[in-house]
């Protein structure tokens, strides 16, 4: 490289950087990186005989600090059917992030779509793997609310049961609330399950979308439901959520199942 050109190149770089706003560097320095680190996904065994005991104080602290799935701007506890355009936008946003972070690119037709205010979620199944995308459709790191997670698709549950539950949480600046946190739960639903509702300690509820043999719900914050209500053709059954075990990253835990 000629010295002349090398010098001009360095100068051109410097001139180009003169247009870079110092606010961007300031924002990067102010950003709280530690609270944005996504928590690991939690996956549980489908059914079990009982929940793992929880240290009462810890549970109480968790539930007190998180006031349930309370109302948050841009999010609704009752889902609606999102438009095809909203699903496409959310999927594109998840793929935009996935392309940078590694998860596979989502494609095909989702088995479940869930709309909650300005947020759209979709579950894509590829063989024995399911990908869950939750997004507000934004592709900017400062406004994005995208979380793609992966779980194994196992044997279908009985007609009146919920099976293979998986859930967890993450955070991104675009999710509702100052913390930008979200929690979600999803899994296979028996063929006779028509509705699934999660209940929280503060008596708030979040209704899941039940579609094509899947159920799915998410909510802002880091609270976890205390029970789940499952509706089938024979009635409604409520079972406790094994909060302690489900909030751990250790071995699998017991998830609620409708009691016979």
């Amino acid at each position: 490289m000629s010295y002349l050109f090398e010098s001009e190149l360095r100068t051109a770089f410097a001139v180009r950087l003169e247009t870079l706003s110092p606010e961007r560097e300031a924002r990067l320095c102010d950003f709280d990186y530690r609270s944005r680190v996504r928590r690991r996904r939690r996956t549980w065994a489908a059914m079990g005989t009982g929940g793992t005991a929880l240290t009462g104080g810890l549970l109480a602290a968790i539930l007190l600090l998180s006031s349930g799935a309370s109302v948050a701007e841009g999010w609704t506890a009752v889902p609606n059917a999102p438009s095809a355009a909203a699903v496409a936008a959310a999927t594109a946003a998840c793929n935009w992030v996935n392309d940078r972070t590694g998860p596979p690119i989502l494609s095909g037709t989702p088995v479940l779509t869930d709309g909650r205010g300005s947020y759209t979620a979709a579950i894509y199944v590829d063989g024995h793997v399911a990908h869950i995308c939750i997004s507000n459709g934004q592709r900017r790191a400062t406004g994005i609310a995208t979380n793609t997670r992966i779980l194994s698709v196992e044997a279908a549950p009985g007609p009146d049961q919920l099976g293979n539950p998986s859930g967890g949480g993450g955070s991104a600046p675009g999710f509702p609330g100052s913390s930008g946190q979200e929690q979600d739960v999803q899994g296979l639903a028996g063929s006779d399950v028509s509705a699934v509702t999660f209940k929280f300690a503060d008596k708030s509820t979040v209704e899941a979308t039940v579609q094509n043999g899947w159920y799915f719900a998410w909510w802002p914050g880091d609270s976890w439901p205390t029970s789940v209500r499952v509706t089938t053709s024979t009635g409604t059954l409520t079972s406790p959520m094994a909060v302690a075990a489900c909030r751990s990253d250790t071995t699998g835990c017991v998830f609620a199942r409708p009691k016979p």
């Binding site: 000629s2 050109f5 001009e8 360095r10 051109a12 001139v15 680190v37």
Partner: protein
């Protein structure tokens, strides 16, 4: 834990600006650069205990940043073909004599050079930025990109050739990237 957090904060304060400038020159897009650095620092933060024990944490962060920048979906295939798929033998094709003092055209028109830089592929700019902005050696660039020094040379060569073409092409006068 507290000192670890403090040391990460110190790392961010010391290097966020530099990483941002590097990202800006690679992407040629300020907003994308900010996003990339944010993502890069998130990843560094998640591994900070291990990273801070490294001899050169900044080099690790820079590697993540460059990988993120070059991981663009639309360009991935082409970049791999350019960087990974080429060996030293390939560099004989359409080589540019980098040592020559051949004029690049109207270099006094710095804005044209800046426009032309914006027309390079991200891959081509990355090599030039790492070599002539970060002042890394060819070996260091090759190590960072995970390729041979020959590939670095050829990528730089192609970048310079493209710049020459853009600066001497009539299309550069209109601000439109040529072929």
């Amino acid at each position: 834990m507290g000192s670890s957090a403090a040391s990460f904060d110190e790392f961010v304060r010391a290097h966020a600006g530099g990483l941002l400038r590097t990202a800006c020159l690679i992407t040629w897009d300020d907003a994308e650069a900010e996003d990339l650095v944010q993502e890069c620092l998130l990843r560094v933060s998640a591994r900070w205990r291990r990273v801070q024990a490294m001899e050169r944490p900044l080099a690790y962060a820079r590697r993540i940043l460059v990988n993120l920048a070059l991981a663009g979906r639309d360009r991935r295939s082409r970049q791999r073909a350019e960087l990974v798929g080429q060996d030293l033998e390939d560099t004989n094709d359409e080589r540019v004599d980098l040592s020559a003092e051949a004029p690049l055209g109207a270099l006094s028109q710095r804005s044209e050079l800046i426009d032309a830089l914006g027309c390079l592929t991200k891959q081509q700019r990355t090599v030039l930025v790492l070599r002539y902005f970060e002042d890394l050696s060819e070996a260091q660039v090759a190590d960072l990109l995970g390729c041979s020094t020959g590939t670095v040379k050829s990528s730089a060569s192609r970048g310079v050739a493209r710049l020459r073409g853009l600066l001497t092409s009539p299309t550069s006068e209109t601000g439109v990237c040529g072929p």
